[in-house]
Every structure is written in structure tokens, then in C-alpha cells.
């Protein structure tokens, strides 16, 4: 198992393929297998792909604090330095996208391009229009047979209340698909760390600084995403951002429709590298 020390935290990582560097950043409660078992195999013929477990996740060190997008952007910087990667296409799913964006805010020279996949961003919460979440009633119907009750107003979700209920659901993606959920890592993270609170921290990733991000950005969102308002905001306010709305799958479309996502990313990276406008 390979680990690199970043900011005093051992981060478990894997690297595959040859070509220009791509870094894939998973979301909260996930881990590097999210990418390994989905899009990664389809990227390795054209790129050197680095995947890693965020602190507190997978086989990386579990620290009591440090789960803000800013701190984890510093972890990413440490990872890239430790692996000798100067500049990369950085892809983030869900909170991984907030981390990628924060990294681009702080280190613009190190980001060749950004892919923000279905991400909520702390400073952009007012724009996420969760109250208009098109996929919410679908989600409620999906989880109801398992005895999971979601509050009527999704904008009033208290993660600390909702998450323990999710343990009643079977696993939807990965090797355990259909089997009871293995949630020991999630329970550990919620019980022993400041992760849930840290997800809300804006820190220096303010609206102004987000609008100043000049890295070419692809905002990839599900049409059923609770964060679709963020997608619109990014496209409207970042100087070099375009969006792509994914209609197959939901918030977890990278694992549900990996082929489509991988092809899109390959095309996007190629266009950036050939400096074609697109």
C-alpha cells in the first residue's frame, strides 16, 4: 500500500497509466475505489492518473480535525509535491469538487484544468436552490422502503441526523452492491472528527475568489442534482467555465455511467492540451 506524507498526514494513493497528469478527488464518505472501479481504467491509456483517499477516508490517516475544503486543498498540494506532480487536470466529485476548486483558488499555476462533478461549494450554498431539488421526491421514494425518513424540506437537512439513517440502505455501487452497507468508516468519521462541521467552512474560498478562478473549468452536474444552482453559478461567473448536464444517473453518476464520463473527460483534457477553444 503506497502512502505519501502531506501536512503530516499519511495519504493512501495509487497511480496508474502514462501521459499528462490527472488527479481524481473523491467526496466525503467515499474513497479511491470510487474512481478505481469506474472511470480510471478508461483514462490510463492517455493519462497518468492519481487517485487517493482523503484524510479520514479509506486507508489515509484519520485526524480529529482538518476536513475543510481549504485544509484538504493543502493536503492535495502536499500529495502533488510528494509525488513530483507540478501541474494536473484536477477532477473532484461532490465535496472533492469543492476541494479541487479551493486548490485552484489558492494555486492557479498548478491546475491545468478543473472538472467539478456535482459539487456543493460552501460559499455558494445560497445559490444551490436545494429547495427546488428536482430529484428529491425520487430520492424519498427510493429510501422509504428501507425505513429511511427524509425531512420534507431538503434545505433543512441536518447531516448528523440523516446520515445514521443511511446505514439502513443497501450499498448501491461498488463490490458490495446489493449487500448491507458497511458503514464503519462513516460512523468513525462522524463520531471522532469535525468532518461534518468542516464541510460548511468558507475560509478563503469566498464568492469573489471563486469568480476569479481562471483555470478552464468543466462543471458536470446531474439534471437531478440538489446542487444544480451551483452549476449555473459557476458557468455564469467563472471566466472559462462551461457546463455539461448529465441525464443518466444522479449525484453518483461517475459510478453509474463511467463510460460516458470518461469519454467526456478525455475529450475535455485533449481540447485543453491542444488549446482548442471549445
Amino acid at each position: 500500500m503506497r502512502k505519501v506524507l502531506a501536512q503530516g498526514v499519511n495519504l493512501h494513493y495509487q497511480q496508474h497509466g502514462l501521459g499528462s497528469d490527472v488527479i481524481l478527488v473523491h467526496g466525503v464518505f467515499s474513497n479511491l475505489s470510487y474512481w478505481l472501479l469506474s472511470v480510471l481504467p478508461k483514462l490510463v491509456n492517455r493519462h497518468r492518473v492519481t487517485i487517493y483517499d482523503l484524510r479520514g477516508h479509506g486507508f489515509s490517516d484519520v485526524t480529529p480535525t482538518g476536513y475543510t475544503s481549504g485544509e484538504m486543498a493543502e493536503d492535495l498540494r502536499g500529495l502533488m509535491e510528494g509525488l513530483g506532480i507540478e501541474r494536473a487536470h484536477v477532477v473532484g466529485h461532490s465535496f472533492g469538487g469543492a476541494i479541487a476548486l479551493h486548490y485552484a483558488v489558492r494555486y492557479p499555476g498548478r491546475v491545468r484544468s478543473l472538472v467539478i462533478a456535482d459539487s456543493a461549494v460552501p460559499a455558494l450554498r445560497p445559490y444551490s436552490s436545494i429547495a427546488n431539488w428536482a430529484g428529491y421526491s425520487e430520492l424519498q421514494k427510493l429510501v422509504e422502503p428501507y425505513g429511511v425518513e427524509l425531512p420534507e424540506d431538503p434545505d433543512r437537512w441536518d447531516l448528523a441526523e440523516v446520515l445514521p439513517q443511511l446505514s439502513k440502505l443497501p450499498t448501491f455501487v461498488g463490490l458490495r452492491q446489493g449487500l448491507p452497507r458497511q458503514d464503519r468508516r462513516m460512523r468513525r468519521l462522524v463520531a471522532n472528527t469535525t468532518c461534518l462541521d468542516d464541510l460548511q467552512a468558507v475560509d478563503d474560498m469566498t464568492e469573489d475568489r471563486i469568480r476569479a478562478v481562471t483555470a478552464p473549468t468543466l462543471a458536470l452536474y446531474s439534471d437531478r442534482s440538489p446542487f444544480i444552482g451551483v452549476c449555473r453559478y459557476l458557468e455564469e461567473h467563472l471566466p472559462y467555465c462551461r457546463s455539461f448536464i448529465e441525464s443518466e444517473g444522479d449525484h453518483f453518476f461517475p459510478a453509474i455511467a463511467p463510460e460516458a464520463l470518461a469519454n467526456l473527460m478525455l475529450e475535455y483534457f485533449a481540447s485543453i492540451e491542444s488549446q482548442r477553444t471549445w
Partner: protein, 101 residues
């Protein structure tokens, strides 16, 4: 030519599992007939790490993707320690056979 004894692979795999599972609560000891996902409770990331550690141990790339494809073809979603050991032993022997002069 290196001969890989199945018993060696079995004890190696169990040792790797013990280490990966660390201080996680486990309902029972790790046995040959223990189901990796349902009984030992591994997640995808644990199975990924298990594969990586086995490859590290034997300094070989092993066709785990093929192992998973074969599982799916047999409409199984889980596998035992013993089945994994069989796969590793076969794959290592095939490697060795291929490399014999």
C-alpha cells in the same frame, strides 16, 4: 522454478487480511470458508487494498479484474478466502510456468 504452495498462499492471505482489518470489530475468526464481503465485512476499498497487498507480497501483477468478471459470470457477488487463495495460487503458478525456461 518457484513452486507456490497453496497452504503458504492461504496463510499469507489470512495474515494480510488480519493486518488490513486491524482493530475493526469482527464477528469471527478469518477462515478458509469466510465470505469476504458478507462475513468479514470488507468494503470495495478493503478489497482493493487486499489485492494490492497480495501483489506486493508476491511481486506480481495479478488478474483480479478477471477474477471479478468470473464471479459475475457465475452470478455470485461474494467470494470466500479459500476461493481467493485458489485464484492467487493458480495465477502465481501460471506466471511461474510462463517464466520457466
Amino acid at each position: 522454478m518457484i513452486v507456490i504452495e497453496r497452504d503458504t498462499v492461504l496463510s499469507d492471505v489470512i495474515a494480510i487480511l488480519e493486518e488490513l482489518m486491524g482493530d475493526w470489530e469482527r464477528p469471527e475468526d478469518i477462515r478458509e470458508d469466510s465470505l469476504i464481503l458478507e462475513e468479514l465485512g470488507l468494503e470495495s476499498i478493503d478489497a482493493v487494498a487486499l489485492g494490492t497487498e497480495i501483489e506486493e507480497k508476491y511481486q506480481r501483477t495479478l488478474p483480479f479484474a478477471q477474477f471479478l468478471v468470473e464471479l459475475q459470470a457465475q452470478e455470485r457477488r461474494d467470494f470466500t478466502v479459500g476461493q481467493l487463495v485458489d485464484f492467487v495460487t493458480r495465477a502465481l503458478s501460471a506466471d511461474d510456468a510462463a517464466e520457466a525456461p
